[in-house]
Amino acid sequence: MATRSIIPFGPQHPVLPEPIHLDLVIEDEKVVEAIPSIGFVHRGLESLVAKKEFTEYVYIAERICGICSFMHGMSYCDAVEHIMEVEIPDRAKYLRTIWAEMSRIHSHLLWLGLLADGFGYESLFMQSWRIREKILDMFEATTGGRVIFSVNQIGGVLKDIDDSLMNQLLKSLDDIEKELKAITKTFLNDATVNNRLRGVGILTAKQAVDLATAGPFMRASGINRDMRTTGYNAYKDLEFAPIISKDGDSYARCEVRINEIFQSINLIREAAGKMPAGDIATPIKGFPNGEHATRVEQPRGEAFYYVKADGTKFIDRFRVRTPTFANLPGLLETLKGCQLADVPLLVLTIDPCISCTER
């Protein structure tokens, strides 16, 4: 048997925008085991419900994570609205859907860039992020913010998208689609990229279920599960089928995410066409009393929110389980037996969001 040694990976590492630490037990160049330690970004955000009023907490919930900030705020509002039995206007539901899908586009483009950087293809990284700036510009035009939007409120949304802005958004999506098609060719057909991604870090369908993974990481292993099919917000009116792939390797994960960007673009187009006129918010009265759990499909997978309120202006308990937390056991499984040089790439393929995980 070869000598075993331990290599520390992180918390500060060039491919990681966020800190996570892995102790990699290796035999020669092969990883035998990976032992994670987390907590570098833990802020104790859930405890803030005791200090901020339930209407103010929307802005704290958004700051769970800067990438899926919109969805965190939206889901918190959704849970409180259920407790207070407030039915939000249809237009607000459509607006939330549009912003949620835009978040997915921006998150997946960000991930594609990081992946390209991970396997050392810097111009592809730059191209992905250049395209991503277009969607950020549209976020800025419609909400006023680039990463933190603060457009959710309990009972609806704070801002409307008028027709001229909507046309501008749709035009921008056309550009994005065109440019994305060009780089998709490189991501899916280029020999270098294929060599780095094909057959690396295979997670079988059985493992994906047993380890309770979520999101594109799970769907790349052939499991057909997408929380959007439960029909929250406007998804019940929109036509789409979850995107899956069979292979379960890094290439499949890349393929699923790229196709999800195209799907999101189509969903926004469809939602824009069907969006009804009307109010964007329902006024609320009183304080929430009761409990509710919300499940939404974030760019990284299923996120679970639990809110318990006791009739005062402060929420009693707020709990989030995020997709990256669910995907960590799956990641550790794929790391076993991989080459040391593939570790940064495999860590990236689950699209880790450490801020979400640790809150």
Binding site: P17, V41, R43, G44, Y59, C353
Partner: protein, 182 residues
């Protein structure tokens, strides 16, 4: 704008932020904002870095990592606190785990406010950092040793935090004044 005399390499670390400022730091390096036109390269190695960009309000666990990274950087070095959490602790200031700002663990030279800090202001912060870097380099040439004040900062970050608040407010006003004058 300060004269850019050398190409500063930056090191970026997320000290318990929400990730918003981190992706904006990365966005600075990509074609739209392109900080590389000032010679800025993002490096993963503290030994190669001149400017240390820290985001987030620093929690108990990453405190030592931030200190270590700072100590590993060669002199002269500049610390830029990116985002309101890095400046004061921001919305997370009242939580049990956040010390409240980067200056509770290492000395900070430039404060970049904002939630999330916009790429324009981050680049502005880096450029201001370059001026500080030049000053420090000059001081080193004249034989003045850089201050090693990591140890001066008390172990109990919370106590220090209140003392730093006044300083922060001052720094923010100077940053804002700088923006207005442009």
């Amino acid at each position: 704008m300060a004269k850019v005399s050398k190409s500063p390499w930056v090191l970026h670390y997320d000290g318990a932020s929400c990730n918003g400022c981190d992706i904006e730091v990365l966005a600075c390096l990509t074609p739209m904002y392109d900080a590389e036109r000032f010679g800025v390269i993002n490096t993963g190695d503290p030994k190669h870095a001149d400017i240390f960009l820290v985001t987030g309000g620093i929690n108990e666990q990453c405190k030592d990592v931030v200190k270590q990274l700072y100590e590993q950087m060669p002199n002269p070095k500049v610390v830029v606190a990116v985002g309101i959490c890095a400046c004061t602790g921001g919305v997370f200031k009242e939580t049990y785990n956040i010390l409240g700002g980067v200056d509770t663990v290492i000395p900070v030279d430039v404060y970049v406010p904002g939630c999330a800090a916009r790429p324009e202001s981050i680049i502005d912060g880096i450029v201001k950092g370059i001026a500080v870097l030049d000053q420090k380099r000059e001081a080193m040439k004249q034989g003045k040793l850089p201050e090693l004040n990591v140890e001066d900062i008390s172990e109990d970050g919370k106590e220090q935090a209140s003392a730093n608040e006044a300083q922060n407010a001052e720094a923010e006003t100077t940053a804002n004044a700088g923006e207005e004058s442009k």
